[in-house]
Symmetry: C2
Subunit: 586 residues, 2 copies
Amino acid sequence: MHGIVFIQDLATVMLVAGLTTVLFQRLRQPVVLGYIIAGVLVGPHTHPVVFIHDEETIRTLSELGMILLLFALGLEFSLKKLRAVGGAALVAAFAEIVLMIWIGYEIGRFFGWSAMDSLFLGAMLSISSTTIIMKALEDLGLKRERFAQLMFGILIVEDLLAIVLMALLTGIAGTGGVEAGQALAAVGRLGLFMAVSLVVGLLLVPRVVDYIARVSRNDVLLVAVLGICFGFCLLVTEMGYSVALGAFMIGAIVAESESVARIERIVTPVRDMFSAIFFVAIGMLIDPKLLLEYAWPITVVTVAVVLGKVVTCSFGSFVAGNDGRTSLRVGMGLAQIGEFSFVIASLGLTLKVTSGFLYPVAVAVSAITTFLTPYLIRSSDPLARFLGRALPNRVTGVFGAYTEWMGSLGLQGQGAVVMKMIRRLVWHVIINTALVVAVFIIAAFAYRRGFLHLDLLSDDPTVRRSLAWSLAALFSLPMIVAAYRKAGALGMLLAELSIPDRFGARTYRIRAVLGRIIPLVAMAVMGLLVAALASTILPPREVALVLVLVGVGLTWLLWRVLVQVHARLQAAIRDTLEKPGQDHPE
Amino acid sequence: MHGIVFIQDLATVMLVAGLTTVLFQRLRQPVVLGYIIAGVLVGPHTHPVVFIHDEETIRTLSELGMILLLFALGLEFSLKKLRAVGGAALVAAFAEIVLMIWIGYEIGRFFGWSAMDSLFLGAMLSISSTTIIMKALEDLGLKRERFAQLMFGILIVEDLLAIVLMALLTGIAGTGGVEAGQALAAVGRLGLFMAVSLVVGLLLVPRVVDYIARVSRNDVLLVAVLGICFGFCLLVTEMGYSVALGAFMIGAIVAESESVARIERIVTPVRDMFSAIFFVAIGMLIDPKLLLEYAWPITVVTVAVVLGKVVTCSFGSFVAGNDGRTSLRVGMGLAQIGEFSFVIASLGLTLKVTSGFLYPVAVAVSAITTFLTPYLIRSSDPLARFLGRALPNRVTGVFGAYTEWMGSLGLQGQGAVVMKMIRRLVWHVIINTALVVAVFIIAAFAYRRGFLHLDLLSDDPTVRRSLAWSLAALFSLPMIVAAYRKAGALGMLLAELSIPDRFGARTYRIRAVLGRIIPLVAMAVMGLLVAALASTILPPREVALVLVLVGVGLTWLLWRVLVQVHARLQAAIRDTLEKPGQDHPE
């Protein structure tokens, strides 16, 4: 009976994992380590006893664990938090990731591993572990300190960049090499997909979830939320992206619903159960013999992770304007790798581009660095004091001056307001352009698949294509108008700022021209993107010209209606993102 | 990729189930129906679209759902609650189950189905659905009323009897027929197994669970509890009993730990997820064509369930001493079948003794009766009023008199105390005897498997057997002494009650003899059971005699120590069963 074998395997996993984790909990060590040890114990490398009879099923469930882990991470993630942490986290995280990928790649090449293995090693080393850090900070009672907030910000940015990184790795693995153009295209497509899903998702999902939460008991809500989560993951894999990306994104989208606290409460146990299986499954991949064989690389990589992360993260935080002590604490806290490294390692195995030894090496490094994390955090203060004494006075003086200067810098008064306005306008233009392009791509897709049933209207493909194109144009008109308006505002603002008054009478004319150029450039870029990405429904040139002219006329006539439609859509999204008690810029 | 197919299936199940259940929740219909409809929709009978690609995995997960469903039911179940409800529930539940099995069996035979099919049909009809009733009562706001309490008691007893019933059905399915002797032996073995697991479980599990709960976070606790649950289920299946029995029992055992509320909170979402899959998997078995084909039996069975249950449960409650209105409400509320019927139907399919059509018929009947439940509960009051008017005055008068008489009856004062004492003493004797027999069986098992390593001491099998036997006797001495003492007390009490004073001087002597006979009978029964069930380690007669004599001598010497050991064990169990704020008889 298959069912009994399955229950037996599950019982073994849960019992052994329960034992090891209770032990680790008692020894005040990270629970994750306990799961991994349990995996080693029940894994296929502990001859001659066979504990797990059907590894396939356990592995399938572990995939579910990864999805739920990232979904829960997404639930905790919030677009607002990201905004609050601001630039400092971005600078630090970016510096860390780029430097760690480079260090990892160099180490891999040094040991004579393939370029792909080295690249994946670098990627694995680049992302720190949110789970482990949260647990360590909680255990040490430091969760509310300033440096902890900054670390949390860095972790959020890292999680986001990790998603981009995974998409990039998938692309690179597919083409076999790193090409700037392809990479850029991949990032562009990913950005487009993320933007569209975020906008559509934010419009739909939180409303649906809140409705369900209002009318339903917990069990129905759980089933519906899991359905949405898995469903979106499927959609994402259909598009060729990793299931992890989907899980994280839909988590972040659901996080904007009002009932997120209730959802977190009911999703957590399910996540706990499956993430336990996930980590046990990781442990099952570890062959103790392999670890001995690779003891030397593991040591080197571990040292590289600890030193590299301490230096790069401290450096990043310091450059972003924190004092030396805080920066050092941040660096010491982030010096480990965790769940995302396993996800990236899984990705490499799934894509069949990395060697088998990479996974256990990553897990071993993660285990050691995880083990070290609490000690590193605790020793950061003594180290800061020691450095303060040991370094020459002049050096510390320069450091202190820099921090002070950065602290006094921060855009204030009118400058800050203008920067904020510019940033917001740029974002509006980009998002609306992306949405327009998405509408055309969807129209092209629907046309190719015959979903539009235009053949009922006409047999002539030219007419049909023109119709499809017009349809897409009609749907995207509100977004086009919005992009045009925001680009216009942006142009005027930039003209005002960049053209000084000293041109005298001509100042106005120059400003007016510049104020017009930017929206026109935006329209041109949009047009090119649409032409390139939705070429299947592009009508012949003369037809297109006529359609565009008709569209312009229509826009002129309907300007106020279109502005209203867009304002209403925007308000709907804003409502979703805005929760009571938090003010939110327009 | 197997993983993606699995996620796809899961996404389909969750999405469709989410949709249907939200709809049913909105229409204020039982959610369970929504799950089943979802199962029909995604099931293999909705040609030509294939929704589920790997039914096997979904079915495996659904088995997990059944385990978790019964485990959670066990968690809510409590030995104390059972005691509080008392005899009324037992009478009503027993009447209902026996009558419904008979009705079901007769219906099956009437339609010309096989004896086994008919028997399973009867069993399926006999157990009402706790989940559905709870939900209906909650929706109607009647949960706190007196009749609801009584219904809850009946449901608890039913759940217990269902477990026994399933063990019986398994036994009957194995032997192919119903033989009184075998059935009795099966019940005996089951009782022994349950008694031993309960005693050992209550001694160990709640302590372990409370320890884990004290030192651990929720995720570790969840994993450990699930490990214990699945592990015990495995043990139970190894013994040849159903996994459902194991899940329910370990749930009831864990329920005696102090941290049960926390455990319920973290287990509930996991149960919700998998029980959704369980009910969807049930729906997947339904072939709409088959339902049409069996429309006639379904109608008959449905009518039988509603009428049969209303009559038998009302009758049972009334006989147990409730007034007509309460009895009728209880009967109307219990008139449906639910999750246990599916479990029993699964059992039949797993044992390969029932036909394929039985399951969908049961599900259809359950769906219809579930749908009717809220309406039946609501219409019980009007019906009671109608009956009150329609029945001749003399009949209602007799009914009222009976209720009054039963109400005034209930053992009060000294009689009640004595009855309580007798009941407790009988239980003590039975439990201790069971434990002694269990120790000998375990010793025999260990001897056969060579776990005792007695071959290191002697080559002579007689010596080895004698040693094993002595070992078992030594371990069970505290229980033997306890059984003897309690049987003695029971004998004295019974003698006091049964031999009236009119025998004059001989009264004392007769009483003394009778007070001796009962413990001797108890010892004899115990000896016979041990000899029969642990015959492999029974030493030759003369050796046994010597050993028994040595044992008696030893017992005489160590009497006080043994009494103390037993008292301490008993106190440990009592502590487990006793929670603050509730007083508990010694």
